[in-house]
């Protein structure tokens, strides 16, 4: 149930995420090491265009990537196909996107707190 | 039991999916008018059964660098000890050139190349030029896989696991109406009418204790042709390969080929005492031709006559186990999988029945005496005479399979309609097939073992009039017992034991003919060796045997070979041509 198009989307989104996740882990290590509190972290990220783009692209990529990944698992495990499979894919993607967008706003929007 | 037969119509019906059957399907499709229905029926799965797939050594074809069709032809005639039908042998050599190009260019085979990109060719024993095209030692896989793909991707009707059991003529007997089959998967009967039928079921001398052909081949085609009253030629000619694996009676590996190249590379044959013996029989020792080595091994086996130590041994270790492993990777691995160490140890071998030169009499266009019936491949007799050269087997099946397709495609244009079968024959064939279902069930396999012993001992590598008469008696006894052995009829779907029974029926019928034809040939030629008539006889007075069934009786007659192209003692090669182009080893 993966044609070339979905395959490319999944690989491209993965490639986008790879540096982002590693960067994120690095930031987390740094943050924990420096004993930063939630306020301190948010203070740095909120209002920063850089972090908005950083996490923004992650949210976008992960929605696409995970939706396709779960689509494959759902097809291979439960045999779903056709319209139902497509709606499941979109459903997962949109769910992740909306949750992700909320988190993104919370973390990077200027003066959110 | 009601005679429940489903009818099915087609235009061109092909039996068998070896080199002959698959090529016929492709050529028929090219030659027949559009809209012609083509059906291919086979005892196993398309392309996965039969012997063409098992071809190791390769494909003989004269492609230049000194080699010519004339030279290939002369080798074929001399190898066949002047018995081949010369027109057929010529056509074989001539068309092989076209067919190999077709295989490479149209079918998509890839044969081994020289470093400069040209085809690699080598020489099998008995050839005077490097002529054999090959793909490693798995040539048949390449040929059949490519042919199979072509047929699978075309609109040819496929009847897989359909076994042909009877050729059904028209009421007046002038032509063929169709073929009665068993759909093996369901166990139901199906009568397929067709305007033309190609029989390409590939012979297969599996009535010998040791044999190389695939398990599906049991001489069904020749047994059907015999019952249909068609003349069969050269039926005494059974080729033995000298080195079949001996793994015990319980194993299907027994009889399978250890390749010719082992001896060519310096492999030694040893007896139980560990001594080489082939030089006692021939100056060339282990490198002598197949028939000579087979007889050498057989004679040595008879001398030792030890029931616990039946075969002789092939030994490669003196060449260095690592070298052997490298040069014969596939063979070493195969032996290893079955528990033998070819590279470093001894492997027990016996001569093993390999190829059947005899077959239905056909013209050079594969037509038979019965209108609508065509025969090609190992089922057809004539091209090889008393001996088939290594590499001429696939050439024969692919060349004549293609010709059959062309011929049927052409002939069908003048055949308006399907013919009606002779109901009496149809019913008789049906009854023959269900006979065991009406007897008390019993084991079939012991009878197969008995037949294989009888043929090996009495109608095998070396024969005498006495042994063959004894063989005939034994066959008759086995046949009688077979008629008493039943198969439970409660589940006929994919019932292998029923088919074993039918296999036995075919094998008994043809075994009987082999012995009779063997009695009729009172000399020794090629594969046929009579201890009571060891001389080859006058070449100029060469005759071939023709066996034909009339009523319940099989008559064997002799007919003089027609030297239509070359006479014994002469050659068609230009003056001054060297005897051989193969560099001495």
């Amino acid at each position: 149930m993966l044609d070339l198009r979905l395959y490319m989307l999944q690989r491209i989104s993965a490639l986008v995420m790879a540096p982002l996740t590693l960067g994120h882990i690095a930031v987390m290590i740094y943050a924990v090491q420096g004993g930063l509190s939630a306020e301190e972290i948010l203070g740095r990220t909120q209002g920063s265009a850089f972090w908005f783009l950083f996490y923004g692209s992650f949210v976008l990529a992960v929605s696409v990537h995970a939706a396709i990944g779960l689509r494959v698992i759902v097809h291979e495990t439960f045999g779903l196909r056709g319209v139902r499979l497509t709606s499941v894919t979109w459903g997962i993607g949109l769910l992740l996107l909306s949750l992700g967008a909320q988190a993104l706003v919370a973390v990077t929007w200027p003066g959110a707190v | 039991m009601t005679r429940d037969i489903e009818w099915h119509d087609t235009d061109i019906l092909i039996l068998g999916t070896g080199g002959a059957g698959l090529f016929a399907a492709l050529h028929a499709q090219q030659a027949a008018p559009t809209g012609t229905r083509i059906t291919i029926a086979v005892k196993g799965l398309i392309g996965k059964c039969g012997c063409t797939r098992m071809v190791q050594g390769g494909y003989n074809v004269a492609l230049g660098t000194g080699d010519t069709v004339a030279r290939h032809f002369m080798d074929t005639i001399e190898g066949g000890k002047w018995l081949p039908n010369q027109e057929m042998a010529w056509r074989l050599c001539e068309q092989a050139v076209v067919r190999i190009r077709e295989l490479e260019n149209e079918i998509g085979c890839f044969f081994d190349r020289n470093p400069d990109g040209t085809l690699h060719q080598k020489a099998f024993a008995g050839q005077t030029a490097d002529r054999t095209v090959h793909k490693g030692d798995l040539t048949g896989i390449e040929i059949i896989n490519r042919l199979m793909e072509q047929v699978l991707s075309r609109p040819v009707e496929k009847l897989q696991e359909h076994r042909a059991i009877g050729l059904i003529p028209t009421k007046d007997g002038s032509a063929l109406a169709g073929v009665l089959m068993i759909d093996m998967r369901t166990g139901r009967f199906r009568f397929v009418r067709a305007k033309t039928v190609l029989m390409a079921t590939g012979g297969g001398p599996t009535m010998y204790k040791y044999h190389t052909p695939s398990g599906d081949k049991t001489m069904d085609g020749l047994a059907m042709a015999l019952r249909a009253g068609l003349p069969l030629r050269d039926m005494e000619m059974v080729q033995f390969h000298p080195t079949g694996l001996l793994a015990g009676e319980h194993s299907r590996m027994t009889g399978t080929v250890l390749e010719e190249g082992l001896r060519g590379a310096g492999g030694q044959l040893l007896n139980a005492a560990g001594q080489r013996f082939m030089f006692d029989y021939d100056d060339k020792g282990e490198r002598a031709t197949r028939d000579v080595v087979s007889r050498g091994i057989y004679a040595e086996m008879r001398k030792s006559n030890d029931p616990d130590q039946v075969g002789m041994f092939i030994s490669m270790a003196h060449l260095g186990p690592d070298t052997v492993r490298k040069k014969f990777t596939g063979m070493v691995k195969r032996c290893e999988d079955s528990g033998f160490d070819l590279a470093g140890g001894l492997v027990e071998v016996v001569p093993t029945a390999h190829y059947f030169m005899g077959g239905v009499m056909v013209d050079v266009d594969t037509r038979t005496a019965l209108e609508g019936l065509y025969v090609a491949g190992e089922d057809a007799g004539g091209a090889h005479g008393s001996n088939r050269l290594g590499g001429n087997g696939v050439a024969n099946s692919t060349v004549y399979g293609g010709i059959a397709g062309d011929t049927m495609g052409k002939d069908i244009r003048s055949m308006r309609c399907l013919r009606d079968p002779d109901d009496a024959v149809l019913m008789a064939e049906y009854d023959r097939a269900v006979h065991p279902l009406r007897q008390t069930p019993d084991l079939v396999q012991p009878l197969r073992n008995r037949l294989q012993e009888a043929m090996w001992e009495d109608v095998g590598v070396m024969r005498t009039a006495d042994s063959m008469r004894r063989g005939l008696d034994r066959i008759a006894g086995i046949r009688q017992d077979l008629m008493q052995v039943g198969v439970a009829s409660d589940n006929l779907a994919f019932n292998l034991t029923w088919h074993d029974w039918l296999n036995m029926a075919s094998l008994c019928d043809v075994s009987d003919v082999i012995a009779r034809a063997g009695l009729a040939r009172e000399n020794s030629r090629g594969a046929h060796f009579r201890e009571d008539y060891p001389a080859p006889g006058d070449m100029k007075a060469s005759y071939f045997t023709i066996a034909q069934q009339a009523g319940d009786k099989v008559n064997v007659t002799r007919e003089a070979v027609e030297f239509s192209i070359v006479k014994p003692g002469e050659t068609i090669l230009p003056d001054g041509e060297p005897e051989t182009l193969v560099a001495a080893q």
Partner: protein, 242 residues
């Protein structure tokens, strides 16, 4: 020789497409014995109705593949000694294919997919043309030759879990054949192959789980062949922009 023979305890799956179960047989043990010999013995001497399939007996035709102790194997070349667990062995029809009866699977889907993957040669020359020279050491040719000895036994197909879950997936053997043809300079529809393997059942479904390569009895490497197809289709994707 030694009068009393050892026996093997053999469980064989019996049934049809509508269901079945394992049945137990005692089979005499022999020095040289393959799984095919075991199955044949049962049919010859113990249960005349047992169905299985074989032809060549030597690993060339790929008709005899079955599940042996849960692993797909060519039974004519599988020595009993290699698979025996104590005295026991369990034999079932090939996985991922419909059963016809007992140990005989229906291979039609497998071959349909072979064709669907573009697995038949398309000629660039005819029978009256000379055979084109091909450098056997040329790297493209070497790639093509790597998969050429496939015997279409469907062992890889039975080993692949993706096939189990995804009925449309063309499977390793068919895709390997496509890759071989893609690298065959004599093949005419090389671009067509990339189309044939890019659909919803195509090469992109492969998760590189590698069971095909691990279990192939001929030591072929369908996994890498499929990776080759993914690479070429991706490359074309970038060039053509989808």
């Amino acid at each position: 020789m030694d009068g009393q023979k050892d026996t093997l305890e053999v469980s064989v799956w019996r049934g049809t497409s509508s269901g079945g179960d394992f049945e137990r047989y005692e089979v005499p043990a022999e020095e040289n014995q393959t799984i095919l010999d075991v199955v044949s013995w049962i049919q010859h001497y113990a249960d005349a109705t047992l169905t299985y399939r074989f032809a060549c007996r030597v690993g060339m035709c790929g008709s005899c593949a079955m599940m042996v102790n849960g692993r797909p194997r060519w039974t004519c070349r599988t020595h009993v000694r290699k698979v025996l667990q104590g005295r026991r062995v369990e034999i079932a029809p090939l996985r991922n294919l419909p059963v016809i009866k007992d140990l005989a699977a229906d291979m039609d889907v497998f071959f349909d997919k072979w064709v669907a993957a573009g697995g038949a040669h398309a000629p660039t020359a005819g029978r009256n043309d000379p055979i084109p020279p091909v450098d056997p050491q040329d790297s493209t040719r070497v790639t093509a030759s790597a998969g050429i000895e496939c015997i279409n036994c469907a062992i890889c197909y039975a080993a692949c879990d993706t096939v189990t879950g995804n009925a449309d997936y063309l499977g390793p053997a068919a895709l390997q054949r496509a890759w071989t043809l893609f690298n065959d300079s004599k093949h005419d529809r090389r671009a067509g192959i990339l189309d044939a393997v890019s659909g919803s059942g195509g090469c992109h479904n492969c998760h590189s789980m590698g069971s095909c390569t691990v279990f192939c009895p001929n030591d072929l490497d369908p996994m890498s062949a499929i990776a080759g197809l993914k690479r070429e289709t991706s490359r074309r994707f970038w060039r053509k922009g989808g």
